[in-house]
């Protein structure tokens, strides 16, 4: 029997992988992908909780739909900015993005 906890564990694992990716990767694109992983963890969690605990109103599922949409838009926007940056500086390595610090 697969319970809510199993879903949550998967979700937590996914989220952690995403977190790791954000911290460990130096390419802006890969960081964005890691963030997508984290958002998908959220989605798993929401869907599971909605169907286990809130089957009548399934608010979680609705949220998931919105999250997917918003995440797509977010990635689009972010890629546009990355593109612009690449044009100006010929790199997307976040290590090199320290024109402003301190």
């Amino acid at each position: 029997m697969i319970t809510l906890v199993h879903f949550q564990i998967v979700s937590a694992a996914l989220f952690s992988i995403g977190l790791y990716g954000v911290m460990a990767r130096r390419s802006a694109i890969l960081i964005l992908m890691s963030i997508e992983l984290m958002l998908n963890a959220v989605n798993i969690n929401l869907v599971a909780v909605a169907s286990f605990l809130d089957p009548d109103r399934f608010a979680g599922i609705i949220i998931t739909i919105f999250v997917i949409t918003v995440a797509a838009a977010e990635v689009g926007l972010a890629l546009a900015i990355v593109l612009r940056l690449f044009r100006n500086r010929a790199t997307i390595n976040v290590d090199n993005m320290d024109l402003m610090k301190w």
């Binding site: 984290m38 958002l39 919105f66 999250v67 977010e74 990355v82 612009r84 500086r89 024109l99």
Partner: protein, 493 residues
């Protein structure tokens, strides 16, 4: 469900206005694009009138409790609409001089304002999330608007990366909390939380981690320590009017939303989060003010200073009483007016020189005495000296926080505002004592027309005068504003 749709007319019209501005940009020839901001401003003025007429003293929950139209939201709606007007007016010279595609700029500003308004009105997590993202997307674009400006690009990328990361965190926290409460409406969360908290031994860490993650997400929005590190970079890189908009609009909206969330949804857990928020606010104000001492770029300095101010405002949430909320709202308004004043004047300066260093402000009192005075007034106000809004708002907020048993926090805040005086004075010293740097003089005389010194436009001067006068007005006689604030507070507390 649709019978109350007319009550949402301001929001709908705002969205339409944004689209109209965007579309009009396509059709207007380049020399007529100057009409775009005026169109937006006229629209916003109309919306203010409309909102006040339509929503005065309503207290309704619309659409199954998604959106609440009460005095609190009305108050902030007006605040954001006015903020929009100010930002657009302050941006006009800047945009025509430094940026391309004005239509998109103004329309995105309007969309962001729509997001802010919805954030304050939201009574449910999903709505709030959408609103937050609406606002944030606007800002992502605006920050990166300096298309070929490397700083602007970098700031945009950092902002969107950290922003997306923080919204992921926020959502994951949301999902964890949702796992305990199974509801998303604030009042339902409150009820559910209080029953969950009734027997504490059954609560696992995931509820707390969830709440902490949500707090982190919100902390990112308001730039609270330790979620603040993006702010200086982003503020520094963003075009000046955007920096102003970001440091006022984004923060006020997020704080207002936070206030709603914590005073309604998370109220049962107040014993837990109160102290944490207090500590965060203490950290925030200290780090912000201390680090601001050694900055040399005025945008970055103001970024740290705004982090410090967020620390002060978080105290209002930590104290969470009717008087503290009054104080918080008063502080928000005072902060908004003052920050806009200082950024407006700095925008005027930037338009003339294109310089961002504090040392470039040297001799401003000689070359442009009015703007030097306006900046000085605004900085003194931020430092909390009397006669200006800053003093009144700080006094009110600190006294309010003190009465709720946070005298230590109020004391720390007072000490921090003393530290802040140092770096504000540094800027003032630069303007009033130091001579104009030669490079700045050169730039000014190249761009200028008469007697070797360029002049800011009348528009931005007038705007600055109005803002400066408002600072003084709020500092000398805040009674009317406070009455409005008390009316607004009454509907949430």
């Amino acid at each position: 469900m649709t019978e109350n749709l007319h009550l949402l007319m301001p929001e709908l019209f705002l969205a339409i206005l944004a689209v109209v501005v965007l579309v009009a940009d396509l059709f207007l020839p380049d020399d007529r694009k100057i009409y775009l901001p005026w169109l937006a401003v006229l629209g916003l003025i109309g919306l203010i009138v409309l909102s006040l007429n339509l929503l005065w003293n309503t207290d309704l929950m619309l659409y199954g409790g998604l959106i609440s139209l009460d005095n609190f939201s009305l108050f902030f709606k007006c605040v954001f609409l006015v903020l929009g007007i100010i930002v657009i007016l302050a941006s006009m010279d800047f945009v025509s001089r430094w940026l391309r595609s004005p239509g998109e700029y103004y329309s995105i500003v309007l969309f962001s304002i729509l997001g802010m308004i919805l954030m304050v009105e939201a009574q449910e997590l999903l709505t709030a999330y959408i609103a937050i993202e609406l606002m944030a997307f606007g800002f992502y674009v605006l920050v990166a608007f300096g298309r070929n400006n490397r700083k602007s690009n970098e700031a945009g990328l950092k902002y969107i990366l950290v922003g997306a990361f923080s919204s992921a965190i926020f959502l994951y926290g949301l999902s964890l909390v949702y796992a305990y409460t199974a509801v998303t409406h604030f009042d339902a969360i409150e009820a559910s939380l209080s029953s969950v908290l009734a027997n504490t031994d059954q609560i696992g860490p995931s509820l707390w981690v969830g709440m902490a993650l949500m707090l982190a997400g919100l902390g990112f929005k308001v730039a609270a320590v330790p979620f603040h590190m993006w702010a200086p970079d982003t503020y520094e890189g963003a075009p000046i009017p955007v920096t102003a908009f970001l440091s006022v609009g984004s923060k006020i909206a997020s704080l207002a939303f936070m206030l709603r969330l914590f005073s309604e949804a998370f109220l049962p857990a107040i014993d837990q989060w109160q102290i944490i928020v207090a500590v965060i606010s203490a950290l925030t104000m200290t780090v912000g003010n201390v680090v601001a001492m050694v900055q040399s770029n005025y945008k970055r300095l103001l970024a740290y200073s705004s982090i410090g101010h967020v620390g002060f405002m978080l105290m209002g949430i930590a104290a969470l009483s009717s008087i503290a909320i009054d104080g918080l709202l008063l502080y928000m308004i005072g902060y908004a007016v003052t920050t806009m004043a200082v950024f407006t004047a700095l925008t005027a300066f930037f338009n003339m020189t294109g310089r961002e260093d504090i040392s470039d402000l040297g001799g401003l009192a000689d070359t442009h005495s009015y703007f030097a005075a306006a900046i000085a007034v605004a900085l003194f106000s931020l430092a909390g000296l009397p006669f200006f809004a800053g003093f009144t708002m700080k006094f009110y907020l600190f006294a309010a926080v003190g009465t709720e048993g946070f005298l230590w926090l109020a004391g720390l805040a007072i000490f921090n505002s003393f530290i802040s005086l140092y770096y504000y004075l540094k800027m003032i010293r630069e303007m009033y004592v130091k001579p104009t740097p030669d490079s700045v003089r050169l730039v000014m005389s190249q761009s200028g027309v008469s007697n070797g010194i360029s002049k800011p436009t009348k528009l931005i001067t007038c705007l600055s005068v109005v803002l400066t006068l408002s600072i003084i007005y709020l500092g000398v006689y805040p009674l009317h504003l406070l009455k409005a604030i008390q009316a607004a507070t009454l509907s949430i507390w």
